[in-house]
């Protein structure tokens, strides 16, 4: 049985140093929930992209990590929230290579490909929230004899 201890947290995203804590927390939480190395790496990388967007484009905010459990499957949900300028054109922001700054423009679209579930809410002038979810892959188990 997995517990949420050390998994659930709300971390500030105000500086480059905070990005380091975010990555560290996501790595530890994912490991604790039983994610494999590849899935851990994907999740940490997605978190790194989204947290940096929160910091750079959203002017700072926070990440909330939540432990999900459904029918024996373990999941991790990360919500990145800021009260920045918001995104007027979501389709454009989500397209590969679009950047309003001098980045590669691969963060948002790439993060979407790295997770199982991706959801973005943004209101221009109010801020942005991006939620991503990953589930631990369940190895096919031999059925228990009745």
């Amino acid at each position: 049985m997995h517990t949420a201890a050390g998994v659930e947290a709300c971390l500030p995203i105000r500086s480059d140093m905070d990005l380091v804590w975010v990555r560290q927390h996501v790595r530890q939480a994912a490991a604790r929930l039983g994610f494999g190395l590849v899935e851990q790496t994907k999740l940490v990388t997605a978190a790194s992209e989204l947290a940096r967007n929160t910091l750079v484009h959203g002017g700072g905010g926070q990440m909330e990590a939540t432990h999900l459990s459904s029918g024996g499957a373990q999941g991790l949900r990360l919500a990145f929230t800021d009260e920045g300028p918001g995104i007027a054109d979501l389709d454009q922001a989500l397209s590969d290579g679009y950047t309003s700054g001098d980045g590669l423009g691969m963060g948002l679209s790439g993060a979407r490909r790295l997770v199982h579930d991706f959801d973005i809410e943004s209101t221009p002038g109010d801020g942005t929230t991006v939620r991503v979810t990953c589930w631990v892959a369940q190895p096919p188990r031999p059925r228990e004899e009745a």
């Binding site: 790496t41 994907k42 980045g103 691969m106 963060g107 679209s109 790295l114």
Partner: protein
């Protein structure tokens, strides 16, 4: 008994405390030497702990003499700052948190207060109260001075470590004539990658390198920013006439890079050895493995 009572004059509370500290210097030092803060730091001999305690008692007396019991910048403290910093640092190294060090400092107060109370047993109660208060304030200020010193030490240390990390984490290794390598370690933030780029370009020039290997085995996360920094370094090296090879891309990172959609437009090899092999081959200096021979 305080002598001034003889001439019917009570000293000011702070000066009473000063006289008390002078008079009881030895006893206070003896008691402090048994407190964790002194006992665990000055471990060579108990005398050492007693001597160190006396230095602190003298500083307190000097501060009381100048009537500055509330002032952490009082001149009297300047003599003990360094010692307090060393003691604090020693306790941190022993694994104590700042809060724990602060409570060890707080533990120095009761023994002194008890001594003062027994010394002034026969003094008017309000005088005893005033003196106790002055002593409490003085000990509080001592704590403040110690914590300030510890914090500034800690700050200086972390600044120093950050700088050191930047330099230490980017040693350029000359692997072969014309081949240099940088093993990258830790978070490749903007400041670090700037240092990496400069160090590497200097090495390329100094060593007339034709190949520069960037080994990222020690980089835990490769996201779009790290990739961008890598590509800038690669492009700059190319301008200096050196070809870059990125090595040490672990399987999990390789998969992540692909999903992220990043196109590392550079030659990559699994390991540093493979990267060196490639460079040597290009330079026409293949190493022939005497056992296996060429494939």
């Amino acid at each position: 008994m305080p002598e001034h009572e003889a001439d019917g004059q009570l000293a000011t509370p702070t000066h009473e405390v000063r006289d008390f500290l002078h008079r009881r210097r030895e006893q206070i030092a003896q008691r402090w030497a048994d407190e964790p803060l002194f006992r665990t730091v000055f471990t060579v001999s108990r005398d050492e702990a007693v001597e160190a305690s006396k230095v602190v008692v003298d500083a307190l007396a000097q501060v009381a003499d100048s009537e500055q019991v509330e002032d952490p910048d009082a001149a009297g403290f300047s003599g003990v700052r360094e010692q307090l910093a060393r003691m604090g640092a020693a306790r941190s190294r022993a694994g104590l948190s700042n809060t724990q060090v602060a409570s060890e400092l707080a533990a120095l107060r009761p023994p002194v207060e008890n001594l003062l109370a027994s010394d002034l047993e026969d003094a008017p109660p309000e005088h005893l109260r005033a003196c106790s208060t002055a002593l409490t304030v003085l000990m509080g200020t001592l704590r403040l001075v110690a914590m300030q010193t510890a914090l500034s030490e800690w700050q200086a240390l972390s600044d120093r470590q950050r700088l050191q990390l930047m330099e230490v984490a980017t040693p350029v290794i000359r692997l072969w004539d014309g081949v240099v390598a940088v093993p990258l370690i830790g978070t490749l933030d903007s400041a670090r990658s700037q240092v990496v780029m400069e160090t590497l370009l200097n090495a390329v020039v100094d060593q007339h390198a034709r190949f520069a290997i960037l080994d990222i085995t020690g980089v835990p996360t490769v996201d779009s920013l790290v990739a961008q920094h890598l590509m800038k370094t690669v492009a700059a090296a190319r301008l200096m006439g050196a070809q870059c090879i990125v090595s040490g891309i672990r399987p999990a990172i390789a998969q992540t890079i692909v999903h992220l959609g990043l196109d590392l437009d550079v030659i990559t090899r699994a390991s540093l050895a493979d990267a060196l092999g490639y460079a040597l081959h290009e330079l026409g200096t293949d190493i022939v493995n005497p056992g296996a021979g060429q494939r």
